[in-house]
Assembly symmetry: C2
Homo-oligomer: 304 residues x 2
């Protein structure tokens, strides 16, 4: 078997092992599988919990500026909380740090981490620091969301317009994956003013993440190649769909809400309608210039 | 400078960088520095948050049974929550997994993890799985504690009797560090029936951890060599004090409460009085057989 495919298959087995954790606890509103777990909270609130690990040589290069790595480690979790319609609150930070040049590297890492935490109103209230050959940083974040504002990836409806919050692709090449702006303001604006049916953040690329949204919502999606916004220098549709680490919002609105958004948001934020949800098929199809439909392969595994 | 000392000094600098995170958020009751962070909760409850990372070749051997590693990864956090007087609730699990033999190793790891989670009533509700050269597993746990039951390490009073919940030393040699029983029942019994002034779990050894409790409570501690319970095969006092990973409870009670505990707990649990808190000096002194006092060096850094 092809080594790559074998590996994908193995990851699928890991995902399976993980899914067995599903719980019967009535306090758990949403378990593994969305941007964050949702638990019952006091009064009109839900609690949100998410975690993101960054590993040296996998998520960032060995010589990378650790300020940026620290910033990103917090920003990815902030993005997850925002994509649920929530506000981030507390973080705990685990780090495995190599001995070499420890103090200087830790200082840079924590400086970046603190900068991002302050910017988004996150209090870092604990953690665990360890020795490790390779640098690894893991940020746990809690958040809260008003019950009426909670948006899952499973809520998309037939006929919904699909939007993204910004241009896609080229994030790693341009370095943007290390200093992106989590779409907290945009998400806040959306859940406050619209009935958002489904939302998630784009971490693995529109192709894979929209497939996940479809799967969670038990619908298909048809997107229009010409409508997908690309970052400067992103020449192919494959790159816009597959590069990943965009950290833009992907969300769906009923058509009437979608029309209202186009009128409402002009000038303040820009949201791009890229297609619509459908019951006609499963998975994601791309409408090309020639009007032809291209099918995307089913999603690979990443989170649980 | 000696490489070891230089490294300790560097870790102290890391600790310093981390302490800068202290927050002004009024929802934070206790930030970094105790077994778990404490946040305001609904009604008569506080929320507890803790995280513990295990790194291959640092916290466990490369060829170790991953069921046990998974079990331990959850158990250390359960122990932290118990040491605050609380009950564990939810966990999120991050893992960095090497590609080699991925599916089998992940299955073993998650089996152990699930076993421990079920045993202590913890719901695993999310996580993040990544590739990594070295296996690393990081468990984030939430818990809750009735306000009146919260016990910090800073609450010890002059004259308090110091207790441990079991014999010490030899945990790594015997393998017990991988399948220890977090003292949840003992902690529950204590906070329900006694006024516990200070409590923490023993992760780095009595010597270092009692020094931390002293520092947090701004007191000294005098412990009696003959009273310190040792595990079978633990021949020296240095091993009992320094081996670490005992995961027993260390706690203090006012003398009258201490006398009541000795009478009350007979037969059910066994708690060992080992000394007393004092204002006469700072740090930890050990009363040897000859009646002489030995001073322990100040604590090293681990958690934040």
């Amino acid at each position: 078997m092809d080594a790559y495919l074998k590996n994908i298959k193995e990851w699928a087995l890991v995902a399976q092992a993980v899914r067995r954790f599903r719980t019967a606890d009535p306090s758990v509103v949403v378990g593994p599988g969305d941007d964050a777990a949702v638990i019952r909270g006091p009064k009109e609130l839900y609690g949100l919990l998410t975690v993101d690990m960054l590993v040296e040589s996998v998520h960032f290069k060995k010589g990378e500026d650790l300020r940026r790595v620290g910033y990103k480690a917090v920003a990815v979790s902030v993005s997850d909380i925002a994509a649920m319609g929530g506000e981030p609150r507390f973080a705990l930070v685990s780090a495995g740090l190599p001995r070499k040049d420890l103090a200087r590297r830790a200082q840079a890492l924590f400086a970046g981490l603190g900068q991002c935490a302050r910017r988004y109103g996150v209090s870092v209230i604990g953690g665990d620091i360890n020795r490790s050959d390779r640098l690894v940083i893991d940020v746990f974040m809690t958040g809260e969301v008003k019950k009426k504002n909670l948006v899952l990836r499973s809520g998309a409806k037939d006929g919904d317009t699909i939007f993204v919050s910004g241009p896609l692709g080229g994030s790693q090449r341009s370095g943007r994956h290390l200093f992106f702006v989590p779409r907290v303001k945009e998400a806040r604006f959306l859940v406050k003013n619209f009935k958002v049916n489904a939302m998630m953040d784009l971490s693995d690329g529109l192709g894979m993440d929209l497939s996940r949204l479809c799967e969670a919502s038990r619908l298909g999606a048809e997107i229009f190649e010409d409508d997908i916004p690309r970052n400067p220098g992103v020449k192919t549709m494959a790159a816009a769909l597959g590069d990943g680490e965009d950290y833009e919002l992907l969300f769906t609105l009923a058509p009437a809400q979608a029309r209202r958004l186009s009128a409402y948001s002009a000038g303040r934020f820009h949201f791009y309608p890229i297609g619509r949800m459908t019951t006609a098929f499963k998975g994601v199809r791309i409408c090309t210039r020639g009007g032809l439909l291209k099918k995307l392969p089913p999603p690979k595994f990443r989170h649980f």
